[in-house]
């Protein structure tokens, strides 16, 4: 090999209309290294990767300036096909899977294994018949190598989000001739243990000589996995250094231009809880693949922030999804003393429950519509808010929507040009903030938030937690927060429920010893009953 870098992107500049989203950025990746790419939401990471992968959005918006060298040679990548031909694979920030296809069909999409037949001998290899058995075998092997044990003929539509991510990675691994893989926030939808699993998969890929560009907002993952780190801020290169010459605080500083933000901590309060039950769950079963709930009982008190933690696959995510009616469920659920019908999302919304789903990458946002319309959408549809009377008609009140959207943009630090920007043109993290804003706009009596800070940069993280805390303290909103980051739960929750094997393993206080959390997560209740 006569080249030092498998990839060089030199002096890349990209404009979207008026705004310059990349300005003379340079990125150099060595063979076989894991190269972390860091930056705040909207810093330009995904844009840089879209350029590398020849995504149509880049060329439809006037292309870019700069030079891309792959394996030492200058190349012009005009399409994903061209990128693939050069041995570049990509796991996009949005899912690139076909929901109606099986895992095998997705892994082998456009790389199907086929057998010649009579017709194909005459009309060409497009007409060869698929060899489902061999395809399934390859898919199985790829799934095994990323440690996923779900049957390969499962429809992708029915998979939980975390598994979809692994399917995408399995697809990239299955490709031959790959030199460079781009993972755009692969861990954003993963729990901590799944993320660890992913990191070990990445290391074994890198050990085979394949380079990896790894985008994440979790700095500890960077420390664990990466060899080199490059940081962008506002579309400019801040710096690039080997991991041995940096540390958490240094990286955080490079990203946001100041030291690491302290994580929010709620002043501990002795239970000023009303003592009334807000949500009563009895004998709840939820059929959510990979996150099944099996006979869960729980009382959520009015006015508290209750955290739901636990390992991946134990059912903590199944609880909000079951109560909201998004997955088939049985059992008894009462909300503020009234029975809540299950399997009926509209009823749940109408009763004043709102939910920020863990699965919010792109889904659920109307991507062509503006930020303000997205924020107001549910409130207009379900609660008939933001309407003014004009004679006998009700019309949308543009002014109040605008004012509200501006407030949300400020509170959550949504990086955008204006409230009328289309959500489809926001960066991934900022799209998620719009999802949160929309749920809060419903003025819910009861809020489920699932993984609220995933994919959100370290600076904005505390803003989100802060907002939740303020809504709770100022408006008495009852919040159930599902998170796989224990730190986050302990920072603002009044009580923390640990779910194991689909049931409540224990309910702990945020200041309970680490050991108790560890025990509860493995399904063991601490000796000393801690009913708070």
């Amino acid at each position: 090999m006569s080249f030092e870098y498998v990839l060089e992107m030199n002096h890349i500049t990209k404009h979207y209309g008026e705004s310059t989203v990349l300005n003379e950025v340079t990125l150099r990746v060595r063979p076989g290294e894991i190269h972390a790419l860091l930056g705040e939401n909207g810093a330009g990471k995904s844009t840089l990767m879209n350029i590398l992968f020849g995504m149509p959005v880049i060329h439809a918006t006037g292309g870019f300036k700069g030079e891309v060298k792959v394996a030492g040679e200058v190349t012009h990548i005009h399409s994903p096909q061209a990128a693939m031909a050069l041995g570049i694979g990509m796991v996009h920030q949005e899912f690139m899977l076909i929901p109606g296809f099986s895992i095998t069909e997705n892994i082998k999409l456009n790389r199907e294994i086929s057998k010649p037949n009579l017709v194909s001998r005459i009309l060409g290899h497009e007409l060869e018949s698929l060899d489902h058995a061999s395809m399934a075998r390859d898919a199985r092997a790829a799934l095994d190598s990323v440690g996923v044990d779900i049957p390969e003929d499962t429809l992708v539509r029915t998979l939980p989000v975390g598994y979809m991510q692994f399917v995408e990675i399995a697809r990239e691994i299955d490709k031959t001739g790959v030199k460079l893989l781009v993972f755009d926030e692969p861990t954003a939808v993963l729990t901590e243990s799944e993320a660890d699993q992913l990191i070990s998969v990445m290391k074994s890929i890198a050990a085979r000589g394949i380079s990896i560009i790894f985008i994440t907002h979790r700095l500890n993952e960077v420390m664990k996995a990466a060899d080199t780190v490059t940081v962008l801020r506002d579309g400019k290169l801040v710096g690039s250094k080997p991991i041995s010459q940096t540390n958490l605080t240094d990286m955080a500083g490079m990203m946001i231009g100041r030291g690491e933000e302290g994580i929010v901590t709620a002043p501990s309060r002795e239970h000023a809880l009303s003592g009334k039950v807000a949500l009563k769950v009895r004998d709840l079963f939820v059929e959510m693949p990979g996150e099944a709930v099996r006979g869960l009982d729980l009382d959520v008190m009015e006015g508290e922030i209750i955290g739901i933690g636990g390992l991946a696959g134990q059912g903590k995510v199944g609880l909000p999804n079951g109560v909201m009616g998004l997955y088939p469920a049985t059992g008894n659920v009462e909300l503020f003393g009234e029975e809540l019908p299950l399997n009926n999302p509209t009823a749940a919304l109408a009763k004043g429950i709102s939910m920020v789903s863990e699965d919010r990458r792109g889904v659920g946002l109307l991507l062509e519509e503006s930020i303000e319309d997205n924020i107001a959408f549910n409130a207009i549809q379900v609660k008939k808010e933001f309407l003014t009377n004009v004679g006998v008609f009700k019309i949308r009140s543009g002014r109040s929507i605008r004012a509200h959207a501006r407030e949300m943009i400020r509170n959550l630090d949504i990086r955008c040009t204006s409230p009328t920007q289309a959500t489809g043109t926001l960066s991934g993290g900022n799209q998620q903030k719009v999802c949160i804003a929309r749920a809060l706009t419903m003025n819910p009596r009861f809020l489920f938030v699932s993984e609220p800070t995933r994919g959100i940069d370290i600076g904005a993280k505390s803003l989100v937690l802060d907002t939740l805390l303020r809504l709770n303290r100022e408006q008495g909103l009852t919040i159930v927060m599902v998170s796989s980051e224990l730190m986050e739960l302990r920072s603002i929750c009044d009580r923390i429920v640990i779910v194991a094997e689909g049931k409540v393993a224990n309910i702990l206080r945020p200041d309970s010893p680490d050991a108790d959390f560890g025990l509860a997560m493995s399904g063991i209740k601490a000796q000393e009953e801690q009913t708070v």
């Binding site: 995504m55 149509p56 994903p80 096909q81 693939m84 990509m90 996009h92 690139m96 899977l97 076909i98 929901p99 109606g100 296809f101 069909e105 999409l109 456009n110 199907e112 086929s114 194909s120 290899h125 497009e126 007409l127 060869e128 018949s129 698929l130 079963f285 059929e287 099996r294 909201m324 998004l326 088939p328 049985t330 059992g331 399997n343 999302p345 509209t346 919304l349 939910m355 920020v356 789903s357 699965d359 919010r360 889904v363 659920g364 946002l365 109307l366 959408f377 549910n378 549809q381 379900v382 999802c435 929309r438 749920a439």
Partner: protein, 421 residues
Amino acid sequence: MAERVVKRKDLREAARENLREYIVTYVFLALSVLFVVVSGRPLNDIFSQIVGRLSRNLFIVLALIIPIIAGMGINFAITIGAMAAQVGLMLVINWELEGITGLLAAAGITLPLAAFFGFLIGSLLNKMKGQETIGSLILGYFANGAYQLLFLFIFGNIIPLSDKVTIVGASGVANTLNMMGGGLYMAIDKIWSLPFTTALYGVSAVIVLASLALYFLKKISLKRLLALAVPAVFLSLVVLLVPPVYQVVKGTSVPMVTFLLVGVLCVFNVIIMRTRLGQKFRAVGQSRTVANAAGINVNRVRVIAIMISTVLAGWGQIIFIQNLGTLQTYAAHEMVGLYAGAAILVGGASLNRATNTQAVVGTLLFHILFTVSQDAGKNLFGNANIGEFFRVFIAYGVIAVALVMHTWRSNAIRKKNSLQA
């Protein structure tokens, strides 16, 4: 226990889902029964008409399936395929080619013509993604203009033709081309035709034997074997043992080769989906973005889908015309796209999902209504013309409803998704 409860709910939910999805089909089923009763026509007469209509119409309807699966909606531009076929037929009559040779020649001319037009249509539809159904409808009308020009002025004047297809003193190709003389009339149908009963027993026997053989060769499961063999045996037994049914079907004869061609197309539609190309059709149909990111040339796949559909529709038109025996030069193609599109929608297909069964069931129901609507109109309103209006009304009505339902459903899904997050 929880699992069982969930299952029972699933069943009821599935029934409701089925009703919601096939509401159009059920309404048409009810209408068909009603109209058949009201028309007062003898059943054996209706039955033999329906068999005839199925034999000449099914092929074209089946030609719509691939573009639907590729996410391009209903390809109303199959009309253009029919025009290509009519060019072929006209030339064949002009050259005085006879019988099956003549039809094969027409099919041979249709292939490159329709493929070329399909390429143009596909390329144009790629410029209007999301609006393909309307786009293809308009393209069909537009092409009709070009077709008129071709047949009225270019043929006969610039390209000389014999007096077989022109009228002395008038410009262009004659209005009506008679195919009775050249032995083109029913050239396919006549090859081999059997009484319905014989055909049914024969086909049933073949199905039973073939599926048994496949089962013992372990190519199909027991369930599949039963699903194939039981209906075949059952139908034969009904005809054999229930005299009223026998009375209805006994006078009808079946053009075996025509139906064989239809069968081959059904098998083709299934088999192609199991090839690399078919996988691309399905992927592009479900998500252009994902397909593109996987390196599939989306535009090319869509063009291929339309090309195949256009060629098949052309061949379907040849089958149709040989059965009629006359070619209405300036009208024969006009309703092709509309009627075929309506038929497949009646069968429960939507703008993004279609199967062979839906095509067959839809064609059956649509043509039952067609056959009896005049008599039903006469008996109900004392006016046969009302039945005639009714046909056109149904065809446009079904399509309008399907378009509205499609938009409505995709909006509902969009809304549901956004409420969840």
